[in-house]
């Protein structure tokens, strides 16, 4: 079913929307969650929670790109689940390594305080990504948005793992400079 129809089903409060979403994007969302959590059952539950969130969000929202709309919800839910599990020392997929890498970009000082600050920084990261070559941009997004493993990224781009790790390291350094130059306190 095409996305616009699925969104329309949400707006009609037709529960078939959930089924159609599950059929079309269930695996995609599970993959995102599984990368973060590393436990299939937990990922499955996060995907279920994604459907609930989508149901609650539409209406009023009418996403332009349903797939990434859902993907972002799953990523958020899964990361929140990860943070809870981290306290209990449970689970954790590739995201532990991803977070460890991202520590290089931040100084562990104060948190970003307002939603506006966050949006501004997300926009700046978009600008940063626009400044990259297509390949580097994709490597960055696959690692830090999709939390995909270095080995998978290496296979995907037919690169050696060490080359991917090196690319990511340089990208992190470049991102840190990019954000600092634009006045962000990181």
């Amino acid at each position: 079913m095409e996305d616009k129809k699925i969104v329309e089903l949400y707006w009609q409060r037709n529960e078939t929307a959930i089924t159609e979403t599950s059929v079309k994007y269930g695996r995609y969302l599970t993959a995102i969650s599984l990368n973060i959590l590393g436990i299939f059952e937990d990922a499955e539950e996060c995907v279920s929670d994604t459907y609930i969130s989508a149901w609650n969000a539409m209406p009023p929202q009418r996403p332009n790109v349903l797939q990434t709309f859902l993907g972002k919800i799953t990523r958020n839910i899964s990361f929140n689940r990860y943070k809870q599990g981290r306290t209990a020392k449970r689970g954790g997929g590739e995201v532990s390594a991803v977070l460890h890498e991202l520590e290089e970009c931040v100084s562990d000082s104060k948190s970003v305080e307002t939603e506006l600050d966050r949006r501004e920084m997300a926009k700046a990261i978009d600008d940063f990504l626009d400044s990259l070559s297509e390949k580097k941009r994709d490597i960055f997004v696959l690692r830090y948005w999709y939390s995909e493993s270095v080995s998978k990224i290496a296979k995907r781009f037919n690169m050696k793992e060490t080359a991917v790790s090196m690319t990511l390291s340089r990208l992190r350094a470049a991102l840190r400079s990019f954000l600092l130059e634009r006045g962000f306190e990181i």
Partner: protein, 629 residues
Amino acid sequence: MKNDDLFEIIGDISDRHIEGAKKKKASGVWKKWGALAACLCIVVAAAFMITLRVPGDKNYEDNSGEPDYREDDYLVDNGTSNFGASETSDKYTSLNELLEFLSENDDHGDTMDSNGSRNISADGNSITYGAKVVAHNGYVYRIGDGCVEVLNLDGETLGTIDFAAHEIFISGDRLALVGGRTVGNEFEYESYSIVRTYMLRDPANPEFLEKYEQSGERVACYMANDKLYLLTTDGVCACGYSRLDDVSEYIPTFDGEPWNQNDIAILGEPTRVNYLAVSAVEMTGGISAMKAFYGDIDDVFYGEDWIAVATRNWNTQPEVYVFDESFKFTGKIELADIIGVDKSIKHDEDGITIGDVISVTSVSKYGEVFGVLGGYSYATPDDTSFSGYSYISRVMIAAKNMETGETDLELVDAEADTSSIDDIFHEDDRAIICISTMYNSDDPQNMSDGNRFVVAEFENGEVTAHLADFITDRVNGVENYFTYGSPYGDLETIIPMEDAVYLRFNGKPNGFDIFDFSDIGNTKMIYKSNGELPEREYFDFTWQKLDEKTIAVLHIKMSEDYKIRDSEYSLRIYSVDITSDTPFTWLAEYTFGETEAVWVYELGLAMFEYEGEYYFVSASTDGVTKIKF
């Protein structure tokens, strides 16, 4: 700033970057996710099956240990099934022509759904589906962990077949196991479906006969007339993109050999590479027919002696291509012509479909005619409407006699703001269609929904249809829990209990409604469940008819946090007396342990009759249990 914050902020980057990373060099990945998702949505209902084995279980290799079996005697007799590509396409006379054209002109989904997957689904009538557990002459064959176990009715395990099957079939004294293997890695891999047949001269010791392997993701598998039909697909991803790095890859293989070019049918003018390969495995040995359909395939439907492939794309109304049991082309059902509307689909500047839209939900054979059930709607922009559009929607019941070419049509107004088909029960010459309806759809605060029935009869090629007077409640299910396994309001199958009397499992979260469809002009609801339970977290998951007076229900008590893995499962047996004010009497209950329950949920539960006694076997619980009531 902490790394957690940065990770979360990266989550808000632009959709175009997220999508971009996904699409580059990754078509294979998302294709596979989508195809697997499509596989997951196919419900095999013969047994009391709950869900399919998850594809992520890394069942990558056929671990049978048997050498690949291949003999030339399976080769199809071209005299009976060689019909070539051109019969179903005005534009192409061979697959090479099509692939050559698409290698330069494939639109990668731009004129299909914006992000659309091609979820080929299956619907069947008068056929047998595979099961997780089947019984034969006092023996039970059930899918275990990487193997198929053979048990007797005392529950003793007599032996195992070392093959990770997904479905089991029995036909006469033959056993067929259907599984698959995947080679490659998570990003780039190829899937194959495998059929293994066995002789059951001694049911306790199945003798291996033959093995076949067909490329592609398994769409469906069914048994009819002692033939096992295997349907597989490849070519298009979940996000609507073709894998076109090398078009030559998109020729299906059977036992490693490319498909015979003469056994290919091109359906109209495909916009992308997408094939549906079908082979008929004779349970007595050999292959009787093979066909690979290329087209913008939306759905496949099949019955005892026919198969119908429905095509659709972003710009064109659906068409249905019908083939006989040997996959000989018998004709095309052009729904736009039958309804009398334009064959092209129009869209507004935002890509929203406007004007006439036809959808196909089901195709079945009713006597001499093929019936196509679906929807017809007409959408026009309307600024005063909440959704921005005004819709006219009708339930479509079209019929075509493939021999005479005569057609007939009924468009039924479900008397609601919007309507869509939930469930269909097919009979010899009629279909009972359950429709989901929406009221006050322009007013979010006062929206309501319900269900109505349309009963359609196909007599001498003519269609008559009646809308039932009553409206049943639409249901909400278990609050805050939407995953599969929870009844969030869908209706379950309508099953005949007695002549012309049907039960519908309404999942509200519990309850069965009873209907009398004996007079299609005056259908009645005999009993309406109140659907209320003392505690909402209990619900009936699925059910099976044991006989005309008895049903068995898989009952689930949700855990406090609504997590399915910690829930408790039990099998409840009820007697049914349709003449009583309280038709359902609870006879017996069998409770599963927590660990077993998880496995029951994942792998299935089967009930069967043997010499007048009923038994149930779960796919992981030890033993075989005789049902006492």
